[in-house]
Symmetry: C2
């Protein structure tokens, strides 16, 4: 199974717009942020930190202090990774030159022994590797390894790859050869090393990834002991003694519940799945499946968001999914997509790709303003201006997307995902091409199947997906395995206008054939507006309904509903009307018959509220918050 990003050229009405936005706005904007060229936003200093580290190594001193988070380097890494993907599809000599310059700088910031981390080089030269809990050295290395592999894949240039192989070798020497104990506070290195291994085929990197996975939670008190020993802290205080926060409460193979910091959790699980896929370790595979099921069956918002609590940016307990205080970090849903992709490499089952699609079209897209310049870190399912962002328990819930963050993980993470979306849309195993996501574009096939596979669609708003074939020779002899989305109760599959012959296995339709350039394989989904209900164990959603059309979760926003969502209920039996609309970048709006209650002046009343008919307008969740501050709700009471 191989990554498909390189071989897939996007031509998609919705995601194409995001891809262009990434190229034209987000990557240049983020570059400016990293270089501190954007006024009135949080200072980044990330590139400058590399310059200072280089100065330190070259002159023994540097002219300024390190500034930013201990993991500031990772912003540069994520930007380079996104830039690499963009450069592949949209060659841009100037951007590439600037990337090369940044890589040159990174090289100058690397120590002779391979070590690379500007926080330690500039600020704490004597404290390397003494604080795995907080200091994010392995995390930053992981992101830079990912950038290095991407840059090599996309530009053919291996300078950064060689830099990061030296860093990986340095880590290998420390943890494997010198038998240093410990594991990272923030997982990421595991999945990155597996990616490096896939590219370089150097067994060392797989061994190192496996080491970090095997070590975690075996000595559950590792971080507590480390904190006692090291006597220093990045954040002040005495370290975090919450083992679940770090997913080290027990060995990973024994873990049954997704706990702690949600991004850390899904990065870890992604690494575990990548190792399991590579080694065939059944126990590890099984742990991944159990953790996946726990997330999806008990701890995931309907938007594909995860992490119910601001405190620790964390998973909490089964069925605890508050809408208004949700943390639901964009990065956590991106991590969930990474996890889903790796699970698909363990077993083809639409339970993974259905969630991948849910998270992508809802929580992840919602993370970005339509203009690509503002970003949500937190993705609530209910917003009430005056309370959200203001009440002390909801300070983290912003009613509009802020420009940039001091902790800027989400924007570059979204950029690297959206600019490599082909990797998630497709996978190939021998003669079978798996179509996980319905994203328009052309996939070049050049292994055993030779030719091009073209997907034409107006998805996610149109219900038809057409696959066209352009064989290199006469035919493309292959199996096309297409996900049957869970929301489509009746999916028709037609080959050249007639019902196709196919088998269904774990949510995928397998169509085997010898396709020619005349063939047209067409899927028609049932894209009716659907009501979706929560388990009654989710207190926040009792008596409420959400709406979905195709992969898109809808919400009611004040801007379309006289600025008052809290007075609205949906009628149980009402039909939904779908209206094509040009607003908000082009969407399908849903109008549903509902009831609007009169607003009673008193806080409590013995009177029932008067109800009148009211047409409730719903918009896709991913475009909410693009029209200033106003109320928003995904789950609406149903009467």
């Amino acid at each position: 199974m191989e990554d498909r990003m390189k071989n897939f050229t996007l031509d998609d009405s919705l995601l194409g717009r995001y891809e262009r936005l990434i190229k034209e706005v987000v990557i240049p904007y983020q570059e400016k942020v990293l270089k501190d060229e954007i006024p009135d936003t949080d200072k980044s200093h990330a590139i400058e930190n590399f310059r200072l580290a280089a100065q330190m190594l070259e002159n023994g001193v540097c002219e300024e202090e390190f500034y930013g988070m201990v993991f500031q380097d990772s912003d540069v890494a994520k930007w380079l990774e996104a830039a690499a993907y963009s450069l592949y599809h949209y060659p841009d000599k100037k951007l590439e030159k600037r990337c090369d310059e940044v890589i040159e700088l990174i090289g100058r910031a690397q120590h002779k022994d391979g070590y690379l981390n500007t926080y330690f080089t500039v600020k704490e030269p004597d404290k390397r590797w003494s604080n795995l809990e907080e200091a994010h050295e392995l995390y930053c290395a992981g992101h830079m390894i990912e950038a290095a592999v991407a840059y090599a894949e996309c530009t053919g240039k291996t300078k950064l790859l060689l830099i990061m192989c030296r860093m990986a070798d340095h880590i290998y020497k420390l943890f494997i050869e010198e038998e240093r104990k410990g594991y990272p506070g923030h997982p990421e290195i595991e999945l990155a090393l597996m990616r490096l291994y896939s590219y370089c085929k150097n067994e060392k990197y797989k061994k190192l990834a496996l080491y970090f996975i095997d070590a975690r939670g075996v000595d559950q008190d590792y971080f507590i002991k480390e904190a006692k020993k090291r006597k220093w802290s990045v954040w002040g205080g005495n370290g975090n003694s919450d083992k679940e926060y770090f997913q080290c409460q027990m060995p990973v193979r024994e873990q049954k519940k997704a706990v702690g910091h949600a991004v850390r959790a899904v990065y870890l699980y992604t690494g575990m799945a990548a190792v399991a896929a590579s080694t065939g370790d059944e126990k590890l595979k099984n742990a991944c499946k159990v953790l996946w099921d726990n997330i999806v069956q008990c701890r995931m918002y309907v938007t594909g968001a995860i992490g119910s609590a601001y405190e620790g940016e964390a998973f909490t307990k089964d069925y605890h999914l508050p809408n208004d205080t949700a943390y639901a970090e964009t990065c956590a849903s991106i991590g969930l997509i990474f996890f889903a992709k790796k699970m698909l490499s363990l077993e083809i089952d639409s339970k993974y790709s259905n969630v991948m699609e849910r998270a992508l079209y809802n929580c992840v897209l919602a993370g970005m303003q339509l203009d690509g310049k503002q970003f949500f870190y937190v993705n609530p399912l209910e917003v009430i201006p005056g309370i959200s962002g203001d009440a002390v328990s909801q300070r983290h819930v912003k009613p509009i997307r802020p420009k940039w963050f001091a902790c800027a993980c989400c924007p570059p993470n979204a950029a690297r995902l959206l600019s490599s979306i082909g990797n998630y849309a497709w996978s190939i195993q021998e003669n079978t091409v798996y179509s996980h996501l319905f994203i328009g574009g052309t996939l070049k096939l050049d292994d055993s199947i030779k030719g091009e596979l073209k997907l034409v669609t107006g998805y996610p708003y149109d219900d038809t997906v057409v696959y066209l074939f352009k064989p290199k020779q006469q035919i493309m002899k292959m199996t096309l395995a297409i996900r049957l989305p869970d929301w489509s109760f009746d999916t028709r599959i037609m080959l050249n206008g007639r019902k196709a012959d196919y088998q269904v296995k774990k949510g995928y339709a397998y169509i085997k054939g010898e396709f020619t350039k005349e063939d047209e394989l067409k899927l028609c989904f049932d894209m009716s507006v659907r009501r979706i209900y929560s388990s009654n164990r989710v207190s926040a959603n009792n008596g409420k309904v959400a709406f979905l059309k195709g992969p898109i979760i809808y919400c009611a926003e004040g801007a379309d509903n006289e600025e008052d969502i809290l007075s609205l209920s949906v009628k149980k039996s009402a039909n939904a009307v779908v209206l094509k609309s040009d607003k908000l970048g082009g969407i399908d709006e849903i109008v549903i018959e509902g009831l609007k209650s009169s607003t009673i002046d008193t806080l409590y009343s013995f009177e029932t509220m008067k109800l009148r008919s009211y047409d409730i307008k719903l918009i896709p969740y991913y475009v909410w918050g693009n029209r200033g501050t106003n109320q928003m709700r995904v789950w609406l009471p149903e009467l």
Copy 2:
């Protein structure tokens, strides 16, 4: 207008039980806690701290360190106050002797200049009055002043009163004569000084109370400046810069919203109302009315609880009343009752006494276990074991009452309120007796009206209240002003079986007469089970209903409903059946026809849940949590 506690002898089926519990269990238990005689509970050390302070003064050293909160002294004060009330109605030589001994000890812990505070005397002798923000010196003084007045009123013994007059004089000298700037971080001294003034008629104490009220918020940065200057902190850190937390964001007369720490807020407002009632300050009175209305119209739970957020134990924003993460501290509702009482001394209006009753019979009574040995600090309106108390954002929400707290403010506060409930039930102005709460017992009248007024009732479960008269001479010439509760849509008032002649003014029925011992004035309330609805601005209660019968708010608890409350909805049109029950100390149970939804195994489903008829059992909120850990909900979905 005078306090009625002394002259009222309780004979009430419900509150009588609590009064006995206070006398027989709570006061002795709390005494043991204060003296560290209860094993396996948080250590108090409060009496021991006084002993250490006395040693310090007598020997210049002491054998142990101070232990406990900076405001540990106030626990002793609140216990003494409750003991005083109890001693009045239930003379107990042994208890009185032990109280006298404690007072003796307190006297020995007082400095020659009148200063009294064990934290500073034992632990920080050089830092007196340097940290008004955190150190609670004025707060502890306030509570001890209240205890002193109560002890003098109830036992006639003035030793503690003289001690506390010396302390008040000490404070007067500092802030008035020496013109020291500042105001307390935790209000309480203001209302206490007004109480001392009412008892002693010494104008100095009123002047000092007024000083603290006038100073607050004029220099809004007082605490910030103090923190910079003092360079030490009780809690560590650099002080709390949140002005709203301390209600010092502006001068008190300009404040329009109830903000910050809820207990501090209502203690302050009580002091403001007491000053306004004494001075006739219209601006101050008006500020009190505006703040009252803001609490009751926008920031109060249906149980009479206040304080929506754990963070800062604080008020948050209008209409932000989450049920599951509520702070809703018992002490805050007790403070709300204090505030209501003082507002009634400013103007007779049932809008105050209705809330007083709501808070008393619901949030305050719920604070105590039926056995008097366990206490809620936090009073949520929804509890889901597995989440409540466990999810990181709900750690403060305990599903069962803990035994005692390191910060033990609530149990002794409830004890002093419940053992002096006569003060809240009645007030007298010239020839008018106001009956605010319907609590059975006998009120002795010995000013202009001479005789006894007896209230006979099975309230709050029975709908009839009878007033009987026992004139000292032939007749009692008086006006009886009786609150007409807001929940009774039809209250019949009969004198000797015939409709009485009365006028209604601001929710009170005024019955003027020359009553003899043959007269019987009887009120019959409409005590039907009522549905109560929230403004739709309260997101958490959209589509939901609560139930009330008389003054009692009901809830559904798992113990009566197959351990599953989240699956229940109430039918819109269903009638309620009331069942007398012996359980939980004797209650009226409500059975209401509802619907129970099948539990779907998946987190989200496109299917509507199957509903079947189900008789939902409701119990009074104040008895919830007496049968172990189980689900509880006040607001139920209504279909």
